[in-house]
């Protein structure tokens, strides 16, 4: 193992903003900021529970455009075409629903509430992600 691309300060600062956004959503709307769950509910919840989800997702997308405007071009997934990226996104959605939450819902919000269920979920999906990455990068030799 080598460590040569560690960015601790932006990571901590960005993480703090993510935490603030989660606390903000909980205080203002009484909602847990689990991104995969919010996106899922946008299609699966009754119509009356959809609009705030749409606004949250719109904010996320607006952040991407804002970053693009001030910091330049966005990094893309190298070595794969748009079709593969779309398929990967589909798998991400499927996987996060299977685990009942993602790094934001189980990770940031769940761990922040000292939820044992979330701790187990985070440990397991991180381990599964590491195993999948090992196979993809070092066994199959897919581009990274």
């Amino acid at each position: 193992m080598t460590i040569d691309n560690f960015t601790p300060l932006p990571a901590l600062a960005g993480g703090a903003l993510i935490g603030l956004a989660s606390v903000w959503l909980l205080i203002a709307n009484g909602r847990i900021a689990g991104v995969s769950g919010i996106l899922h509910g946008l299609f699966a919840e009754p119509p009356g529970d959809r609009l705030w989800r749409a606004w949250f997702v719109a904010g996320l997308i607006a952040a991407g455009f804002t970053w693009h405007a001030f910091a330049g071009s966005a990094p893309i997934r190298q070595g794969f075409g748009l079709g593969w990226v779309a398929l990967a996104g589909l798998l991400v959605g499927f996987g996060t629903r299977m685990s009942g939450g993602c790094t934001s819902g189980h990770g940031v919000c769940g761990l922040g509430r000292l939820s044992l269920r979330s701790l187990v979920a985070v440990a397991l999906f991180m381990a599964a992600g590491m195993a999948a990455t090992f196979v993809a990068r070092h066994v199959l030799g897919l581009p990274s």
């Binding site: 990571a11 993510i18 935490g19 606004w55 970053w67 990770g107 922040g112 991180m126 990274s144």
Partner: protein, 66 residues
């Protein structure tokens, strides 16, 4: 209406945090998961930063709910 504005603001702040932290870059997430290769621990610090905020904002009522 206030709720929708707050939801948009939360999404915006969340997204800016994702970009600042580097987690909008697929490569950085993959490098975190690649513990046997050129490991990038940044994602762990993003979670640490975020959880330290959510944890410090947690009230006894929130912690006792299921």
């Amino acid at each position: 209406m206030i709720g929708y504005a707050a939801a948009f603001g939360a999404g915006l702040l969340f997204g800016i945090g994702l970009w600042i932290s580097g987690m909008a870059t697929p490569r950085k997430v993959l490098d975190f998961l690649d513990v046997t290769g050129s490991w990038d621990p940044s994602l762990a610090l993003v979670m640490a930063g975020a959880v330290s905020v959510t944890l410090s904002a947690s009230t006894p009522e929130i912690l006792s709910s299921p």
